[in-house]
Amino acid sequence: MVTLSNIVKRYRRGTQDVEVLHELNLEIPDGQMLALMGPSGSGKSTLLNLIGGLDRPTAGSITVGGERIDQFSSSQLTQWRARHVGFIFQFYNLMPTLTARQNIELPLLLTSLSKAQRSRHVEAAIELVGLSGLAEHKPTELSGGQQQRVAIARAIIADPTLLLCDEPTGDLDRNSAVEIMNLLQTLNREHGKTIIIVTHDPMAAQYATRQLHVDKGRLVESDARTVA
């Protein structure tokens, strides 16, 4: 369960403080696939970054799996992310000098798994995202959809409970976007991952079990009822 209570986030821009999120409350049950939609600058990516421990709220509390992550130190947050969160970005953010297999293996360097165990995990992830035969290719040798599959495999390799996706189909053509969303849906339905997707794409949002709109720092349910 992810719980956000009275979240306020302000940024300093020049001499002014800009409040991006206003007293925001949200509960995301385990196993939910949530789509966060909204116009640019509405605060949806900021919300995702707060849930993922990449940023800290100005006020309010964030509890994930019973842990108050807003009270964690920087190093505690880093360790927490490694154990519990998988990130998927719009532009994949893969290491260009590593092969697909090595990119996927990257998070496992932080674990105590042996080389053989890591190799088995990587093979399973490659199989799951449908990249067999492309594992030794570097990112520049792969299409956008294939790169995003590598990014998804990297995100799930350490078996996190939470997958955070920032515009996962934003750089893909329609067919690739459908494939990626099908894959995320499979991870949600068959592997029980809690998935939060920030997207502009209504097609992608349709895959979610719940849709929320972020508008000027406030949450609105898809039936237009203001949540907080």
């Binding site: 990449l54 940023d55 490694a82 953010n93 000098t97 990257l106 998070p107 932080l110």
Partner: protein, 383 residues
């Protein structure tokens, strides 16, 4: 895959830039290796010259010489155990660039004074009975492929024969070496009979260059030196006597403060390198900010990410140091005839890697701070 692999891959992010960086750093270490090697050879020359040996030369200059008739009075001075003498025979073999430093000596006296050199009694005996004989240093013999029985022509750049010729031919009768197997100017050179040179040369007859004197008590070196100079003060050849250690040091001083020059050149090179590689590293970190941010997002701690970056810089410097010092180690034997040292001392190698470590820290400091302060949200969004 492991952390080292990550570091290795990071280095090759921009292969061409890495190659140029490696080359420039390697050249700096090559320069360091060669100059420090030369420096070490001079230091060794000074250290190896014992305080129990005195160097007696003409008070005016080495070129003036001293009469060989001074030998007997010299040997009679209290505290002196043995005396040898030598005349420098500067020459080249085949072509002017192939310099040969030879000394005309009384072989028996020479090896009695130079106890750190080894020669067979048979070779000494043959030398005594062969007027044009020559004893060749082991390093020179190996380099030229010379062996006993070979006749070698030398062109002297100083000594002229009575017939006006500068061509001298010697027959190799034996090979001598350093007891510690070290290469120095002696084992890279040649010994010839003084009697032959004196008889055949057109000028300077009866003169020697310097006397080498062994004394019984090294602590009495100053008193013995003073006694020698006093004994010859009013002669035709007033002397200046000092320990060989002082003599070598004085000679080195005459060609400038080599150590200072070496340190100055090396310091300037590395100081310039610091800015060059510092800028390159900063540029590389800037270009790869998103990559480092991804590592942190995945759960790599600040310490690990900073260590990876520093390890890249260290690996770059260490690889360049190995290449540069390795090439220097290969080149030094070829320069041994000039500098008298064939290997880079361990202290220079350790010093090289010490410099690599210091440069790594100095170069990596600013990029490391940048990575520590990295704002993940901004970095991931490309801001």
């Amino acid at each position: 895959m492991n952390y080292f692999y990550l570091v290795w891959k990071g280095i090759w992010y921009k292969p061409l830039r890495t190659v140029f960086s490696l080359a420039s750093i390697a050249v700096a270490f090559l320069l360091f290796g060669l100059l420090q090697g030369v420096n070490a050879s001079f230091e060794e020359a000074v250290d190896k010259s014992g305080a129990d040996r005195l160097y007696v030369r003409n008070n005016v200059s080495d070129f003036e010489g001293i009469s060989i008739s001074a030998l007997s009075p010299l040997e009679s001075i209290e505290g002196i155990t043995s005396v040898a003498y030598q005349v420098l025979f500067p020459s080249y073999y085949r072509q002017p660039s192939d310099l040969v430093v030879a000394f005309a000596v009384d072989p028996n006296r020479f090896f009695k004074v130079n106890q750190d050199l080894a020669v067979s009694p048979q070779a000494l005996a043959t030398m005594a009975s062969t007027r044009t004989g020559a004893l060749v240093g082991a390093a020179r013999a190996q380099r030229e492929g010379w062996k006993v029985g070979d006749r070698i022509p030398l062109h002297s750049t100083y000594w002229i024969r009575s017939d006006g010729s500068r061509e001298w031919t010697f027959e190799i009768v034996g090979i001598f070496s350093d007891k510690d197997q070290k290469v120095n100017f002696l084992t890279n050179g040649l010994l010839i009979n003084y009697d032959y040179l004196d008889e055949a040369r057109a000028f300077g007859k009866g003169l020697i260059g310097v006397f080498l004197v062994n004394i019984a008590d090294p602590s009495a070196a100053t008193q013995v030196a003073r006694a020698i100079d006093t004994r010859f003060a009013n002669s035709s050849w007033p002397t200046k006597t000092e320990t060989i250690k002082d003599g070598v040091a004085t000679q080195l001083k005459q060609i400038g403060d080599i150590k200072f020059m070496v340190y100055a050149v090396v310091a300037a090179v590395f100081f310039t390198l610091l800015f060059l590689t510092g800028n390159t590293t900063m540029q590389s970190v800037r270009e790869r900010t998103a990559e480092f941010a991804v590592l942190k997002t995945l759960g790599f701690s600040d310490r690990v990410v900073t260590s990876l970056m520093l390890a890249e810089v260290l690996l770059l410097y260490a690889t360049a140091a190995v290449v540069g010092l390795g090439v220097a180690a290969l080149l030094l034997p070829a320069l041994a005839s000039n500098f008298g040292i064939a290997t880079i001392p361990v202290s220079v190698i350790l010093g090289g890697f010490g410099i690599a470590t210091v440069l790594t820290l100095a170069t990596g400091l600013l990029p490391a701070l940048r990575l520590q302060r990295l704002n993940l949200v901004d970095a991931l969004s490309g801001r």
